[in-house]
Symmetry: C2
Subunit: 164 residues, 2 copies
DNA sequence: CTTGAGAGCTTGAACGCTCAACTGTTGCTC
DNA sequence: GAGCAACAGTTGAGCGTTCAAGCTCTCAAG
């Protein structure tokens, strides 16, 4: 029960690390998503889509790019964008360069919904995450998480890119 | 765009930290859950339930406790346990001390399913998480995540408990 | 006792994600 | 320029979670 180095088992240290990482991130995300749902009626993941679109040139992006940027599937993007269109937060436009493609364009209403929600999310982020961490802790956390990302399939686009 | 200290905004550092944390954990979890689903046909969260039950005295736990241990709702536990009963991995027993309560008991088949799956999960955990981290990095990650947990509502039961 | 507040758990509907087809377009090759 | 594989996106069914009731049981007070 002490210092097993078998590749089949985790050491007590590793297990504690894994559980702390899993629990803290899950608890933080569910807390923030719950706030977003209550305060703004946003389905999980909606906020992220609005942010990505708002940071894009012309507030527009192809479905494909949205899927990659959110690390999820094209199918999910189709469904999610459909809901956003119903809300009036996004409009669809044909893609000029490829007749297969579609653009999702953030509307003024969508931008407004994002602007109205952002302060609350940031408040939650401070309260639940950054207020408990020293600057060094936060920097360490960033460094370690980017190291994890670098080894994860599909995680390459996130960390060291100049556009971030 | 440089060093905003407004409480309404995140600094560039904070934003990068938040995004790295969010992306790395999300990507890691979805990867592991996908493996679990493919290799063992386990629905998301199933593995965690089996682990918790297997670590309990008599492999049994009340529904209520399962909900707390997994940081989720009683309703989810009811549905999830029902699926596990259908699989033959869990049996239900009446609670001797409280007629309102139910015990979920891990069966031998459930223990077997867990034992058959654990090596694969641990393999994935090593490949995607620990192999890229030095021992110091892992210890730092644990310390920081436990600090986050400590400030999160409901996160108290996780880190420093003797039973861990 | 009996009454009432609250705990423990369940139920069923609504909702979002996933997965496996499927449609239409592009671009390469012969 | 005809054929064909790969790409972009959609569709619909299946499934797990969430949320708001609802039911049974407990416990303490009168």
């Amino acid at each position: 029960m002490a210092t097993a180095t078998s590749p089949q088992l985790l050491t007590a240290e590793e297990q504690a690390t894994w559980r702390a990482f899993a629990r803290s991130s899950r608890l933080l995300f569910t807390q923030l998503e719950r706030d977003l749902s209550r305060d703004a009626g946003m389905a999980p993941g909606t906020y992220e889509l609005l942010v990505i679109l708002s940071e894009s040139p012309a507030r527009a992006m192809r479905m494909n790019e949205l899927a990659e940027a959110t690390l999820t599937s094209p199918s999910r993007i189709t469904h999610a964008v459909e809901r956003l269109v119903d809300l009036g937060w996004v409009e669809r436009a044909t893609c000029p360069s490829d007749r297969r493609g579609w653009l999702a364009v953030l509307t003024d209403a969508g931008q407004g919904a994002l602007a109205a929600t952002a302060p609350r999310l940031i408040e939650g982020l401070r309260a639940h995450l950054f207020d408990g961490l020293s600057k060094d802790d936060a920097a360490e956390l960033r460094r370690i998480c980017e190291a994890i990302l670098a080894r994860l399939p599909g995680g390459a686009a996130a960390g060291g890119c100049p556009g971030a």
